[in-house]
Symmetry: C2
Subunit: 205 residues, 2 copies
């Protein structure tokens, strides 16, 4: 398999969403040109993207089987394998992430939250538990989460990331607006709202 770029990876969930919509409408076949028109990519891009993750070829004048594409995408994206995550910092953003309704669909299960403020501890309205940061190590021994979602203030982010990694987390999904460092072998992905906003305002000019 060729190396998959981040730009490609970003597109796959959008393909999947679109194919599921089509499937729910009873459509069974789709061509690269129709996909491209709908999502705003070139035909060549669509072909290249789908070839990288699927063994099936489009049939001339017929197209590709949507059911198979969905299956290939879900396998590739790892949505069939459940991964567990903890949310570190249950403020407004952390609370939103802890209860984000789409994550289960993406194979991500949020198993617990952690915060240092006593007022935030306990069961949330939706029935998930927020534990004290002081109990992080002992709780993690039981729940063994794969991913830590970081939504603490920027000034605390690196310390919390280190704590998560020390307790066995293999992936860091960082929402704190700061640069953090992880050791070799740990996966890191940043969602930086200031960067996204910079792109938007640049386009606005």
């Amino acid at each position: 398999m060729n190396k998959i770029s981040n730009n490609q990876l970003e597109r796959y969930p959008l393909y999947l969403k679109y194919f599921k919509e089509l499937e729910s409408e009873g459509i069974t076949l789709i061509s690269a040109s129709v996909i491209g028109n709908k999502l705003g990519y070139s035909q060549e891009q669509v072909r290249k993207d789908l070839q990288a993750i699927s063994s099936i070829e489009g049939k001339p004048k017929k197209g590709r089987e949507i059911k198979q594409l969905i299956d290939d995408l879900e396998t590739f994206l790892g949505y069939k394998k459940i991964r567990t995550a903890v949310v570190m910092g249950v403020g407004r953003l952390g609370g939103a992430l802890m209860h984000y309704p789409y994550f289960e669909e993406y194979g991500l299960q949020i198993v617990a939250g952690f915060d240092k403020e006593a007022s935030k501890l306990g069961l949330t309205d939706e029935g998930k538990t927020v534990y004290s940061c002081d109990d992080f190590s002992s709780i993690m021994k039981e729940i063994k989460a794969d991913i830590a979602i970081i939504s603490v203030p920027a000034s605390q982010a690196q310390r919390v990331v280190n704590l998560a990694i020390d307790n066995g987390v293999k992936g860091i999904w960082n929402f704190a607006p700061t640069h953090i460092v992880v050791p070799e072998g740990i996966a890191l992905e940043n969602v930086n709202l200031s960067s996204s906003l910079a792109i938007l305002t640049h386009k606005l000019k």
Copy 2:
């Protein structure tokens, strides 16, 4: 000025954050190599990035003036010009965005929220107002927001985007996990959590 890529744009807020930290520590000069080491970019990348937005050159063996770099970055990123935004869909995620503590620092002022659920309307704990979607057009005549932040469910996103654009919004910041379309001349930036998660889980393999 050369064309600035999205990858470059994503880095600028991280430079700015780092330079402000240095400034608060009383440091006045910095070299491209130190910046690169700290943020994980190559020296050449740092030079290229900073040259694109700043007229000052680094002095051999001294480095660049941090105060000037901060000024250039804030000007370039538009943080000195206040832009106004409305949040459309004040669920957990929309509520978090409406009260996100860093936006004012980035020149973004959230002036109102809109939701269709009666229980969400009125003043929030932090003193911002959530209006009914039914009143969107009349409220927008008064507040004339530049940007609409879209945090409604995926199925409603395109309809809400169209409504925002019909009422004078020039930029769409889309957090709904779906593909949306905007006419020529309207800026669109997507924050797609499923795409970001796909990148993280791919790195985890």
